[in-house]
């Protein structure tokens, strides 16, 4: 990982190295595809204004995630009443998975929708910790440092988020996980 002489990373360095992480994190935090670029730009612009990343207790990923959480939360609040726009976005961006058979693409899409629906059951605080820990594989200590919360609090949120997530998945797949369950059809974007 090419760091500066003192480990400092400018916002451009951060973008080059961690943009895929930030993009994925934002999507898992509920940002719609069509707004991804706008929110990405906001995250890295804020990182730039903060002077980039200087090594500390948090890793660059959790540092960026702490900014992205705020951006995603604001975005989600704004878009609660714009859900129909989001529905169109999802249709437009539904062509992911080039080279996959139609069945595999459908299955991948079904899983992602199920994942989103289950994550939607978590509040923003728990969701952030859960996504970083369980999907991006960050350590709880680094997550706590990035978010500026006590490690015990991070563990506590993670435990609570796990319970909620598992319950949500059980409920969402209760009708037989072949297709999207009727409940899923209601909650999907």
């Amino acid at each position: 990982m090419p760091f500066g002489a003192d480990g400092h990373l400018s916002s451009a360095d951060l973008f080059r190295q961690f943009a895929p992480f930030v993009a994925s994190f934002l999507l898992r935090m509920g940002v719609s595809r069509s707004d991804l670029d706008d929110v990405m730009q906001e995250v890295f612009l804020v990182a730039h204004r903060l002077g980039g990343y200087t090594p500390g207790p948090a890793k660059p990923t959790t540092y960026l995630a702490s900014i992205a959480v705020r951006a995603a939360t604001t975005h989600r609040r704004k878009h609660k009443v714009r859900s129909f726009v989001r529905a169109n976005d999802e249709l437009v961006s539904g062509a992911a998975g080039e080279g996959q058979s139609p069945e595999a693409a459908f299955e991948a899409q079904r899983r992602m929708r199920l994942l989103e629906a289950a994550l939607d059951r978590l509040d923003d605080d728990k969701r952030a910790v859960f996504v970083m820990a369980e999907i991006h594989g960050e350590t709880v200590v680094s997550i706590a440092a990035g978010l500026g919360i006590p490690v015990d609090t991070a563990y506590s949120r993670l435990r609570a988020a796990r319970k909620l997530f598992q319950t949500a998945v059980a409920e969402l797949t209760a009708d037989g996980a072949v297709g999207i369950s009727p409940r899923m059809q209601r909650v999907q974007p």
Partner: protein, 353 residues
């Protein structure tokens, strides 16, 4: 307490569905985003000194070390700025209408032993719209949506402030002034109200300011309910007077627009689409902005909508028309959140992203 947790993916006790979904999330890469183009845009924003998004204004000045970004004093700034803005606006409104005040009618539970209002009383106006919007507040909101909404809303609030239930009337004044000048989501009142409505929790991601205790919160709620009831009575009387006055004048008073989620959703949806297609289909933005203004004239989104109309005209090369229409806009909103962007567009003939 800090026992190491096995990731769910590696936990054999976790349900297969759960592991499958987490694996899907871990494997999913963002394939339809052009990272090179994104980096170019980022560099352009850096070079042109693009303004920070509203949500990050309080962050500027905090350091970019690998420690928490959303914590400590920077958060106090985030919370304090909108609350202070609301407080200043409210204070200005009240000072303008100040009359010899009768004894406060806010509930006794909100007073200290000396009889002076405690800090809990001051918190009540913020809590009212979040916890239980009073009739006065709703009326002010309705008035703000009408043509010349800001004037009517302020009048409504002033009349209510002169009656009983002053605490709630103050909140109505704040809500009215905010509705007239800002938009929800980014508005100071929205933030403050959200902050008041949040249940206090230790270690909250966005905390950093003093959190009221449970008993303080109870007091706030009690005083808010009491003030709301007083304001409702005052508002009923005020509304009756207003109707009688209108009837005497023989004016056909337009029915206030109903507070209707569907209507609001439609308006915001139109605005969102207009904003989204500004750079790709300015003619559609222009059409949506004008249609929106005819449909929701004088709503709280007027300022933003008119801004889009002006930017669309610039984008379409109709600079003379844009300049002509911008004169009254900039005269009305000289320091509005979109005014600088409009000025830059008019000066350069280009619309920033």
């Amino acid at each position: 307490m800090t026992k190491r947790l096995t990731p769910l993916l590696d936990d054999p006790a976790a349900a297969p569905d759960v592991r499958e979904l987490l694996l899907a999330g871990r494997d999913a890469s963002v394939t339809d985003y052009d990272f090179n183009a994104g980096l170019e845009r980022h560099m352009t924003h850096v070079q042109t000194g693009a303004p920070l998004p509203d949500w990050a204004k309080g962050l500027e000045g905090s350091s970019g070390t690998g420690t928490a970004v959303v914590t400590g004093t920077s958060l106090i700034g985030w919370l304090a700025l909108p609350i202070a803005t609301v407080a200043v606006v409210g204070a200005v409104m009240l000072l303008r209408d100040r009359e010899p005040e009768p004894a406060p009618t806010v509930s006794a539970g909100a007073h200290g032993s000396s009889g002076e209002p405690t800090q809990v009383v001051q918190a009540a106006p913020t809590a009212v719209p979040a916890a239980a919007p009073s009739e006065a507040g709703l009326r002010a909101d309705r008035a703000a949506r009408e043509p010349h909404g800001s004037t009517r809303a302020l009048e409504t609030s002033r009349r209510a402030a002169n009656g009983r239930g002053q605490s709630s009337a103050k909140s109505a004044a704040k809500r009215a002034s905010t509705a007239a000048g800002t938009r929800p989501g980014s508005s100071a009142t929205g933030t403050a109200a959200t902050g008041a409505a949040r249940a206090p929790s230790s270690g909250d991601l966005f905390d950093g300011s003093p959190i009221p205790t449970a008993s303080q919160a109870d007091n706030v709620a009690r005083s808010a309910r009491s003030a709301s009831a007083n304001a409702a009575q005052a508002e009923r009387e005020t509304a009756a007077e207003a109707v009688a006055l209108d009837e005497r004048r023989g004016e056909a008073k337009p029915e206030p627009a109903a507070i209707d989620d569907t209507r609001l959703e439609r308006e915001m949806g139109m605005l969102a689409v207009a904003q989204r297609v500004l750079h790709t289909d300015a003619a559609r933005t222009l059409s949506l902005a004008r249609q929106g203004e005819s449909e929701f004239a004088g709503s709280m989104f007027t300022q933003e909508r008119k801004q889009l109309e002006l930017l669309a005209l610039v984008k379409l090369g109709r600079l003379d028309e844009a300049k002509r229409l911008a004169r009254p806009y900039l005269a009305r909103y000289p320091n509005g959140p979109f005014s600088d962007r409009v000025r830059r567009a008019l000066a350069t003939g280009r619309v920033e992203r």
